[in-house]
């Protein structure tokens, strides 16, 4: 097993792995974004976040569950707060990317003396239990400036779908390659490379 070591700054504080509050969170499935808006507007639903088709919301409003069921929603599912909330942090010290991946912790950026990782509270706790050192981010990570040359618009769409922040697409010669420029985190660059794109970091 390959272990790499990154050296952290010892002054960083420990990443806190507790929910931001203890309000109960439930989830329901909706058809589209408009439905979320109507739930907020008509029922005062307090959305924690939505990843369509699932909406996570605070379930401590009196009578809310009954109203949701009366409107036709399936019984709202109580959620474990440890799986609802996601945290980002620095992973310092020894690491193995495959192992942290198996624990459900995802990479965002590789820095000289740490990794920027994220995961839900449960996954991050599992990583901490395995001995990984997780610290609070003391700066705001930024994506890298990249350039990718692609053959056609389908490939540009793939890059967009990986959430690269594209700011220019050019085809200098008709029939020639397109030059896509944007910014991406290391994890996105990894995905681009896994799709056989040649990525140039600027």
């Amino acid at each position: 097993m390959l272990f790499l070591t990154v050296f952290g700054q010892s002054c960083s504080s420990t990443l806190r792995l507790a929910p931001p509050n203890n309000r109960p969170v439930y989830s329901i499935e909706v058809g589209d974004a408009t439905e979320i808006e109507l739930l907020q507007q008509q029922l005062g639903l307090e959305v924690v976040y939505a990843k369509l088709p699932v909406v996570y919301f605070y379930g401590d409003k009196q009578g809310l569950m009954t109203r949701l069921e009366a409107i036709g929603y399936a019984k709202p599912q109580a959620q474990r707060l440890e799986t609802v909330y996601v945290r980002y942090g620095k992973l310092v010290g020894k690491y193995n990317e495959q192992e942290i991946g198996r624990l459900g912790v995802k990479l965002l950026n590789r820095e000289k003396n740490h990794l920027v990782v994220y995961g839900n509270l449960s996954n991050l706790r599992a990583a901490r239990d395995k001995g990984y050192v997780l610290e609070k981010l003391d700066y705001e990570p930024r994506p890298r400036e990249i350039e990718v040359r692609v053959k056609n618009e389908d490939e540009i769409q793939k890059i967009a779908g990986l959430q690269v922040d594209i700011f220019s697409v050019n085809q200098p010669e008709r029939g020639g390659p397109y030059i896509v420029q944007g910014t991406a985190y290391d994890a996105q660059i990894d995905e681009l490379k896994s799709l056989n794109f040649t990525v140039t970091q600027k």
């Binding site: 408009t34 981010l137 967009a160 697409v169 985190y185």
Partner: protein, 594 residues
Amino acid sequence: MKKSFILSLLFGAWTTSQAQILTFTSFRTPAQTNADLTLLHTTYPTLTQLLSIGTSVNGNAIRVLKISSTPAVNDPTKGDVVFVADHHAREWISVEMALYLADQLLARYATDPQLQADMNRLQIWIIPVVNPDGYQYSAAAPANRYWRKNRRNNGGGFFGVDLNRNWGYQWGTSAGDPNGSPNPPDDTYFGTAPFSEPETAALRTFLNGLGNFKSFVSYHSYSELYLRPWAHTVTDPPGEQTLRSIAQRNINRIATVHGHTYTENISYTATGEATDFIWNEKRVAAFTPELRPAGSLGLAGFSPAPTEILPCCEENYPAAAALIHDAARSGVWLRDYVGDTGAEPSTGYPWESPDIWTVPAVLNQNATVDLHIRVNNNTGATVNNVTVEAYYTDPRITLEFPSLTSVLIGTAVVSVPPGGTDVVMPWTTPVGTNIWGERHWCVGGVVKHENDMPLTTVVSRTSNVACHNFNTTTIVESGLLWVAATNFLSVAAELELSFNRGDLPSDWVIEFPETSQLQKETALQPSTIRKSKLLETKGVVLEPGQTVKVPIKVHFQKAHGAPVDVRVKGDLLPLVGGKRKPVGNGYSFQVTTK
């Protein structure tokens, strides 16, 4: 003589600054932008009002400069044209463009009679900074210069939501690998919910409050593109022909100034985008110009040389002015009803255009008739190169032209002398019946000109589009009139039917069927049923593209010798959040009795 000099002679009015009070030689700071907005207002107090449409995450005002000949009055008879900039913090040149536009309009008002006439009919709203927190942050330190999002604290050390991924239509969808992310670190993060951000929510509320919304432009940078809906899919939107005509006209206007030809394709799709929401929900022409520079310039493309600012603004001004002119009253136009004066939106019955008729008047299947379209011209001079398009569709409430279901009859390019002219084109009526077994159709006419484009496809909201519903029905006591309504919107909608009692003989009674009876015929998605319950709808609910056939019972005590006009109005109320604005049309029967 150099080409550029000839162009400047031809288009001198576009490129020559006239008494402008702002300069465009460097990017201004957020404080300067605020000061210059105030300066525009204090310089032109009788033409402007400086307002706030709401506040950002950090409590900064989202300021709007209202330009109007009566700025203190909200006048619903005037059209509303909206220009916004800087959804994305780093796109500073878009802020300059918005300020330049305001400066030019105000400076030219006194000296350009045509522009003055246009502006007197409009309320022009300019919001130079949709994202004031991000704009301030991007200017606060060199390391922040290329910040894109707002400054929402997402927790865990990450900030920002991409405001142009946070609008409600197609928010958060993942079909087709669109650009728009659920992850807070991403620069395309779409937020926790549609309109989760106070900036987009404030803008939506502001737009919902406009009485006569005509057009919307959202300036971005960079790449020199002129984009139109849809952003979320490569499929054409309803009314694509109309949007394309306007975009291509505007691209031509831009190119004539400094020779920069903007292109139309961004090559990827994105969700929760502003113009998609506006075209879908409002059917108001909405565009996204991506300003200078062009090329593969990396992040530096957001910081072009300051010498680029003025030419960028100069070349985009004519496109903006053209939209403003389109939004003012039409020069070439079609009447929606007898007595129509061209006011927009129409009152009366806008599906009975007297400017559309056939010879012979009675339509039989598979027969070629002469379709006449009377194009009016109130400019006082001959207007050349007017494009006249004719479409037909099954007659139904809730029509727009062109639509995804309308069929092109023909196109003509004509000169229209003062007063107007008749355009005649052959039309072979379809074989067979329409969707509910009858042989009549609705014909829509669209007139377009370089200086006069329709900014919507909805008949009642523009004088450039009209329709005539060809239909004659004979009924006996307790007879039925059949009408149909189609939901041409891209979201589920509730149908409201109505008629004007005062139009009918006193002994006539009209009965609409119960909603429950009609609703049985239409299959709804579970999500639509839930939305309907949330909104406590009363009318029949239709999915996008769905049609309902409505039997209307007519009772009368005695037959009338003369035909009686029975007019049924239909409005679609979309099942959406915020203020639900009806879009509608109607249906007329000329009823003979026996």
